[in-house]
């Protein structure tokens, strides 16, 4: 930072809003999304088909549902690495209830309820007892999935009722799947929550300076708790969708989801250190990741190679702007 020299004109506004919007992270992401879309269209003749694209949306919808809540959590300066394990536990609870003969509405409620309880457990440890969220959720990551392993061992729950299949396999209208509709609805809900409510402002305030937020009367512990609760609930909803789509529950379900969710959030322009980010960014990041994995899948690239690309993407999107600003200096 240079101090303004006397006599030099100091602009009253550093960057105009239009210019800022044009050069924002979201715009860049959007351009990337369009580029990937076009590249896929050229690379594979099977890409530009409404039904194929609809199928491809499963690549990201479940993860994106969690990513919305995770974005708020990361903006507030916390993180939840246990989301994939919450899915495993919620799915196991649903499987056990299904085996006991409960109908679909009860299964859904149990799945979401399990997510809620897991989120409350994380939130309690972080917000009430002041423990660091990284270790807490690394702990609950093994605990939640560990419970699934205790219940299921190397077994599996299969044979979910037919009407349960709707959540992961059903269509709302034409090619619009139930999951895609859910994705749109929650994108709007979380977008409004973060950008148009006072709760959203407190999330930013806590992420930028928790002490200052506390001194200005924000009940930061309560906000953190609610955010963990939200992440748990969204993981529960993702568990319902994923279990319904796969039609079975194994304790290894959704392994590695936490990485992809965090990648999606960071790719969406949310600062991993907290304090900044937006839901539109996360939405576009979800689309980019979905398009990339689907396009690579059409080109017969194996899953583990895609995970290399996801990993490189995660580091690359943070590294490149920093490298760029270092080169410029």
């Amino acid at each position: 930072m240079t101090t303004p020299v006397a006599g030099r004109r100091v602009p009253d506004r550093l960057i105009s809003p239009a210019r800022r919007a044009l050069f924002s992270w979201e715009t860049l992401l959007f351009v990337i999304a369009v580029a990937v879309f076009l590249a896929n269209t050229i690379a594979s003749p099977y890409f530009l088909d409404p039904w194929n694209l609809s199928d491809a949306s499963f690549n990201f919808t479940e993860k994106a549902l969690i990513a919305f809540a995770m974005a708020l959590l990361i903006i507030a300066g916390e993180i939840d690495l246990s989301v994939a394990s919450i899915i495993a536990l919620a799915s196991t609870v649903m499987g056990a209830a299904m085996t006991a003969g409960f109908p679909t509405p009860v299964l859904v409620m149990l799945g979401i309820g399990t997510g809620l309880l897991c989120g409350a457990f994380n939130g309690l440890l972080v917000a009430r007892f002041g423990l660091p969220s990284i270790v807490v959720t690394i702990g609950t990551m093994s605990l939640f999935r560990g419970i699934s392993y205790i219940v299921l061992g190397d077994g599996a729950y299969t044979g979910y009722p037919d009407d349960f299949a709707f959540f992961g396999q059903g269509y709302v209208w034409w090619v619009i799947t139930f999951e895609l509709a859910l994705f749109v609805v929650f994108a709007v809900v979380f977008g409004l929550l973060l950008h148009a409510t006072s709760f959203g402002r407190t999330v930013y305030a806590i992420g930028n300076n928790a002490t200052a937020a506390r001194f200005s009367g924000i009940r930061e512990g309560r906000v953190r708790f609610v955010l963990f609760l939200l992440t748990g609930v969204m993981s529960g909803i993702a568990a319902v969708c994923l279990t319904s789509r796969l039609g079975s529950t194994r304790p290894s379900i959704a392994t590695g989801f936490e990485l992809e969710v965090v990648t999606m959030v960071v790719l969406g322009g949310v600062s991993i250190l907290g304090g900044s980010g937006s839901i539109p960014g996360v939405v576009i990041a979800a689309l980019v990741m979905g398009l990339v994995t689907f396009g690579l899948g059409l080109l017969n690239v194996p899953g583990i190679v895609m995970s290399i690309i996801i990993g490189a993407l995660l580091i690359g999107v943070i590294a490149l702007p920093r490298l760029w600003s270092m080169v410029k200096r």
Binding site: I79, L125, F129, G130, L131, P132, I134, V135, V136, I138, G139, T140, M141, S142, L143, F144, R145, G146, I147, Y149, I150, G153, D154, R214, F215, R219, P251, G256, L259, V262, T263, V266, I272, L273, P302, I304, V305, S307, I308, I310, G311, A312, L314, I315, I318, A319, R322, L323, M326
Partner: protein
């Protein structure tokens, strides 16, 4: 006496003794010297990695790529063995490769100031993916490895296998490093108070870089030990082991916020997990309990460690906080 009870190491040692006593009460054969030596050997990789992780955590970072690094170096060791490279060269190669992989993490943390959790979450998937690229997902089985390659860590020397002696040597070297060298003290200084460290002439980034190189080199070397001992190498060896390593450190009282911890703590944290893992089949509990138990152990350990820390807020908020807590309870 009261000082003894306040020390984390003493409490942990007590916990280990109680654990052993409980198991021994029903299965006296578990605590025979021969079996305890087996447990020690079995826990050696965890102890070595926990020490590397300890160095990283002391500097306020975290290395989640250790298990992937281990797997990649183990695979490279296996491939070199098939190619007929002599053992000393293989040992040197895994050490250098492991250090190089760690240096990648360290460089991203040091040079670009990317949070270590993001860096290592990314490199974790990349390193594992590279194993797949190297091998196309094929396994290296026992019959493909030379006898000398497999025998080295299992050769008995003065009543203990070479692997155990290596672990003991690493523990001693680490104790010397941490307590008797400038670099070891710098680990604590950087994690304890980064600003103060800078004023005393310690480069925070370079110290973190050194910690990552160290943890990488230890992971790489353990990769060879792992592959040689279990006589098999494939993409997923030591999958999820990074969590066990973090768990060992957290249980051992290494503060995740950096700057506090001891070699004895890390070793005992690892031993605690190793004893649990080996005792489970003996007392007739399914190994599927392991994951949930280490998760619970992490949570209990952090809750326990946090108890000793001072109050977080400023004094003027104390009364308000009290009222809030009472209202909430």
């Amino acid at each position: 006496m009261s000082l003894l009870f306040k020390s984390r190491e003493a409490i942990l040692a007590l916990a280990i003794l109680v654990l052993l006593a409980v198991v021994a009460a029903r299965f006296p054969a578990f605590v025979t010297p021969g079996n305890l030596a087996n447990v020690l050997t079995d826990t050696s990789p965890l102890i070595i990695l926990a020490l590397g992780q300890m160095a990283v955590i002391l500097t306020k970072c975290i290395d989640l790529s250790m298990a992937a690094n281990l797997a990649l170096c183990g695979m490279v060791a296996g491939l070199m063995n098939i190619a007929g490279v002599p053992l000393p060269l293989i040992l040197l190669a895994v050490l250098v490769l492991g250090a190089a992989l760690g240096a990648v993490n360290g460089a991203l943390v040091w040079g670009l100031r990317i949070p270590s959790i993001v860096v290592t979450l990314g490199t974790m998937t990349i390193y594992r993916g590279v194993i797949f690229l190297l091998t196309d997902g094929k396994w290296i089985n026992a019959h493909q490895m030379s006898a000398g390659f497999k025998a080295f860590p299992r050769t008995f020397l003065l009543g203990l296998p070479v692997m155990t002696w290596i672990m003991i040597a690493v523990v001693l070297a680490f104790w010397l490093l941490v307590s008797r060298t400038p670099l070891g003290r710098a680990f604590f200084a950087v994690g304890g108070n980064a600003h103060a460290a800078v004023y005393t002439g310690i480069s925070v980034g370079r110290t973190q870089f050194a910690a990552f190189v160290l943890s990488g080199a230890l992971s790489g070397f353990t990769g060879y030990l792992w592959v040689a001992r279990y006589a098999v190498a494939y993409v997923d060896i030591a999958g999820g082991f990074e969590l066990d390593v973090v768990a060992a450190c957290v249980i051992g009282g290494i503060a995740i916020a950096g700057g506090a911890g001891s070699v004895a703590g890390a070793v005992m944290g690892a031993l605690f997990l190793g004893i649990v893992k080996n005792a489970l089949p003996v007392v007739g509990i399914s190994p599927f309990w392991q994951m949930a138990i280490s998760g619970s152990a992490i949570l209990i350990a952090i809750a326990f460690n946090a108890r000793g820390q001072g109050p977080k807020g400023r004094i003027i908020l104390k009364s308000a906080e009290h009222r809030q807590v009472e209202a909430g309870a």
